[in-house]
Amino acid sequence: MLRWATARADRDCVAGDLAEEFAVRAQRSGPGGARRWYWWQVMRSVPTNLLTGREVQAARRSAIQLDTPLRRGDGAMSNMLQDIRYGFRTLAKSPTFTVLTISTLALAMGVNTAIFSILNLILIQDLPLRDTDTLGFIYSTNAQLNSSQAPVPAADFLDYREEVGAFGDLAAVDRGASFTLTGTEEPVWIEGFLATANTLDIWGQATIMGRWFTPDEDREGGERVAVLSHGSWERRFGFDPDIVGRVIDLDGYPTTLIGVMPKEMEFGSLAEAEVWVPARLNRASASREDRTLWVIGRLAPGATLAQAQQEVDAVRQRIIAEEPDLQGPWGAIVYDMNRALAPPDTWMIMFMLGLTVTFVMLIACSNVATMMLTRASARSREIAVRAALGAQRRRLLGQLLGESAILSLAAGLLGLLIARASLMGLIWMAGENSGMNIFGMVTLDTTVLLFTLGVALLSPMLFGFIPALRASRPDLNETLREGARGSSGGPGGLRGRRFLVATQVALALSLMVVAGVLMQAMAKNRNYDPGFDVDNVMTMRVDLTESEYPSGVDQLQNFSRIRATLAALPGIESVTTMGWRLGANDDPIVARSFRIVGQPEPDAAELPSGFLNVVSAGTLGVMRLPLLSGRDFTESDNADSAPVVIVNERLVERYWTGQALGSHIKLGTDDRSFEVVGVMKNIHSGDSSNPAFPIIFAPLAQNPQRRMGVLARTSGDPLAMTSAIREAIWSVDADQPVADMRTVHQLIEDAFAAPMTLFSIFVAFAGFAVAMSAAGIYGVISYAVSARTREIGIRMALGARATGVLAMITRQAMMLVGLGMVVGGAAGILLGRLLSSAIPDVGSFDLPSFLGVLAVFAATTLLATWIPARRAARVQPVTALRSE
């Protein structure tokens, strides 16, 4: 900024002056005022400096001209400079036009680019992976659970690695690990990812410091090592240059830090990892049932994904044949990178976004076009006069183009600034609202930036050129006479502008119809009923370390101590523990196949499946999750009593032929037979594509595990209890990290933060489009009407009544806007249809927003017609006849 504000030689001194006075002012009137003053100073210095620069140049030029009086400055170069100087002058003479044109283009360009950059990152992550064409991703699929991108069990991965020849190499990452980092001030819970030794190799990345782990360290009994994420190196170790070789305490085990990951690998969910630890997969402990691994492979030279799929299928067939009860419904699928990492509806959303960017740009352009055409026709007389006095056509064109060039450049520059600024704004907003860390790496998207910049640069040139061409070859007689007759730019120009108005209305309206659909979807997400009482529940994760709590009994005891301690706190009504906190979308939850005892064996592929959630006694009561029949778990459902489960309505509807209550199920590889002691109502996740999960609850006392969520229902504001709760848990065991403290409300909100951000950005976008086109419509119509002052005067003189004239003018304007509304409405409804096929359970049309936009446009039109028309109808016919 200072670059434009001061001459180069003075820049340092000026910056110093400003810094000094800034400090004085900051002391006197606070930093805010001082900062405003600072920017005000810088901004105000820009024009002065530019003018001075020009002054100097002008002086230099005039000196040259004096020296060579015969060269009257008609060399091409000096012509261009003259044109540009002339452009500056004429633009400065009509500041409203200049400011409006530049700011319209710059705003459209800036806002468009910023928004698109963010969405682009949410939707299509531009991954820093090498040779993505030869990468393949293996996922588990399960038609029973509607899942097509589930992780792969460790045993399957080991089989694939050995048997699938189409993959030259396969790596696996387990994203669900977490560790307790002790030895620092308080125990911290950090997210870690387990990975195989070849992972970094397949990604085509290298550590920026130290090294990645070796196959030896990736073996059971190998040395304990970990690689730090770049973010963690920054946050926890302050970029310690001697970090490699340092030993930290992970889950109670001394672990050597051997390397630091590159920053590029912090994208999407990978950004959550603070440490990377060897997965140490081995046949003996590898599960066929727990799906935890995200598998990525590098195709062997010459192999194709189709071959890989065939071989993977063959392995699955063999596994299913070995264990039909367990594996029946599960399949495996090989995706290329685009399929693997993009949500299924991406293309649709991208399409909508592309459309929006284009529409907003088009609206901006047509606004600019309108303004420039209007200006050109208003000046056609001036140009005609100059042409009549002998100005060369080339010079006339040049001058008009010089003006356009200035507008283009100014709009482009300002647009860049706005893009940067609004990107920062959006990142800040998104960070405030959702804490989504992916925004850390958003930069302006080059493609969109170039596109919008191109449009911003070209459109004034184009719209300056067309009228320039027309105006510079004027039928002098005609124009001069037309001017005398007081028409503005002739019927041709007006027709063009009317067409633009109708187009704008259509574009903005169709966008708004789509925005309406999205708002509906947002409202739905916000207001959905999850099926339990979400108010006043604080939740957190407590993951006990294996080293301190090795046995199930220890784990159980510790969790019940935590529950008892919390329940004794004043302000807490009840406490429960659950493996998956209801409402959270990032807690671990396992899918299990099961059989219903006494029911005929289904085909292996149709084996019932559900999500298993381990909970403590009284959970349904604490969560206020209603039972349809049967009972909640009690303290007497323990290791010594008969195994029990509670299932939900959805599961029963889907799989039970007879009475569910009292029946028995066999869960996965578990030998026990579980009695169904209760049927609970469905839990809905707001994500409408999953209407209700098929869920099985099992008591913690019969299925101990060390990673649990703790949920406390409070009598007052749960956030106020945060530190009391944490202290209470530490009073049970001071080395226990209490992680991820969020209320159920926050869990649910966070689960939808990404789509909600996306939707609200889109809606803001559409609103922006509507505002812009409303401004454009107002400009064109009010200009067109005031240009008819003379006609109105004549009509009045001939005896027309003021109301009649008003009605006529209004009718004509409304016809125009109405046409746009019809076209835009139709287009919008079509787009809405398209969209509602991408987002399930949303209507394709939202009446209130549609009517709202119609009202805005109608009001704009009325106002734009009425104000100048009334003025025209009021003036004396004689004055009107003389106008212009």
């Binding site: 001061t6 001459a7 003075d10 001194c13 110093g16 000094e20 006075e21 400090a23 810088v42 210095s45």
Partner: protein, 108 residues
């Protein structure tokens, strides 16, 4: 220059301010001084532009001072009047005096 040897109004303001400030005349003090005496909040850019112009006319001379901490380590550029500058101020003063001597008191 078309203005001959006379100065523009803002040039006079700046030159007079330099006279006021003496040795301590650099960007910030000049700006504050003008603010204080005339009630005009001028942009720093305008001041530098004017000073540079006066320098080209040979009325003002400038030199770089020592960098200081409160300026973020940046040096001050001190400005001082050349004899020609002092003459110019004096001439302008005389001119205004001649012009205004015979004027009746300005009304309201």
């Amino acid at each position: 220059m078309s203005k001959g040897n006379y100065l523009g109004e803002f040039e006079i303001v700046v030159l007079s301010t330099l006279l006021h400030l003496g040795e301590n005349a650099y960007g910030m003090t000049i700006r504050c001084e003008i603010d204080e005496h005339t009630g005009r909040s001028v942009s720093i850019g305008a001041i530098y532009a004017t000073l540079r112009r006066l320098e080209r006319k040979g009325l003002v001379v400038s030199h770089l001072g020592e960098p200081t901490a409160e300026r973020g380590g940046r040096a001050k550029r001190f400005f001082a009047l050349e004899p020609a500058g002092e003459d110019a101020v004096a001439r302008s003063r005389a001119m205004f005096a001649r012009l205004w001597n015979d004027l009746p008191e300005a009304r309201g």
